[in-house]
């Protein structure tokens, strides 16, 4: 039996220390996913609390067929999308992406360059940001995105490519400043 299973079993039994350890281990990633998908920090904080409650409620159904982090990540994405649907962000996305992409002029975007992908993505419509984050950041396929969002795979692709085109303009200084095979970041040692 793996140690993670021991930890999870104790969490299922209601051991607060085990629950806290799971939260402590995984919240940096889970909360980051929620923050990326939601964008708005206040809403993200509300969603995160509900996501963690759901993860712990669902803990007895975890069978260890995948890593706990992967399993929890799926729940986080699913619950976050549900929360976004409730706030009608997703419902507006199809119309938003069309208006958004067409309306912004190339030159005016250059005057509003974003400092990071997160900042640039916040300038996309909620739907476009969701598709971009799910595909290019979280690694979902278009088929999976279509299932989660209730759209077609073709619709997912269309939104993604428009989102990428806009992000490429917003992040021109970042993308054009990079050279292939050049790592500009200092990476902390791997522990």
């Amino acid at each position: 039996m793996g140690t993670d299973q021991v930890l999870i079993q104790r969490a299922i039994e209601g051991d607060e220390r085990a629950l806290q350890t799971l939260w402590s281990q995984h919240s940096p990633h889970i909360d980051a996913v929620i923050r990326r998908l939601v964008g708005d920090p206040d809403l993200a904080a509300d969603v995160a609390q509900e996501v963690w409650i759901q993860i712990f409620r669902a803990l007895p159904t975890y069978r260890g067929e995948s890593q706990f982090g992967t399993w929890a990540h799926r729940i986080a994405v699913n619950r976050t999308l549900n929360a976004l649907r409730r706030s009608r962000r997703i419902a507006k996305s199809e119309a938003d992406i069309e208006d958004d992409t067409v309306a912004v002029e190339h030159e005016s975007e250059r005057a509003l360059l974003a400092a990071s992908i997160e900042e640039a993505a916040n300038r996309l419509s909620p739907g476009a940001r969701t598709v971009f984050m799910m595909h290019d950041v979280e690694g979902y396929t278009h088929e999976e995105i279509a299932r989660e969002l209730g759209i077609t795979p073709g619709g997912s692709k269309s939104q993604l490519f428009k989102a990428r085109a806009k992000l490429r303009r917003l992040l021109a200084h970042v993308v054009d400043g990079l050279r292939p095979d050049t790592d500009t970041e200092n990476v902390a040692p791997v522990f």
Partner: protein, 265 residues
Amino acid sequence: MSHLSSERLAELADSQPTIAEAEHLAACATCAAERSAHERLLSLAGDERGRLAPPLTDWSTLSARLRDEGIIATPGDETVEATTAVIPIVAPRRHRRAWLAALRVAAGIVFAAGFGALGRISAGASPAPSGREVASTLERVIGGGVDGGQGLIPSIDQQVAEFGAPFGSVDDAIATLSRSQREYDRAASFIAAHDPTAHSPEARYVFRTRLAALDEMAETSRQALSEAPTDPVLNQYYLSTLGAREVTLRQLGSVLAPGERLSRF
């Protein structure tokens, strides 16, 4: 062939061009550069997945909700039952809980002493505390009873003499232990948040050293658990070490220089 559209170039970041497109890309420096830019954007997006961020939640708020929902077991609560029998139940549940609760305090004591040792290592001192230092640590944690050959844990008579009547029941004692545990966790979080080490120029090196030590402790506990997966003492040490490791990682993340990032945790 005319230039490729921006959306088609975005699509080609992770897909193959048609033959005609490939010929155009080979001849058109502008479109080729744009395709490369989209590939770099895609790479940047992929890097986002590993990026850590400050938590959106805090344990005190979350634990209150979990307690309300019955997900965190309270002393004497028999409603939260395991649905998968991964750990063999070797003792009646109530007794096992009492045993585990007592172990939490014991682990807290030893862990406090352990952190003292880690602090000494970080400061360049000998990791082995003297007997007096151990006694002092224990005294601070459990409130006395370590001198004069009286044993590490005060007897019931000593407790009655010092604190009054003993607990009315095992549940009372467990409830007190649980409260103490929560206080211990709260205090540990507070200390971590106000750790003066974080403001020193050497903070990152101190945290890395601490992290390396905690990794070794976790690995040792993990190996022991592979042979005795239900051992409550080993489990407690392992859980405590993981908790301390995460706190240290967050502290390390807070003192990294601009542009640096934790690649994994």
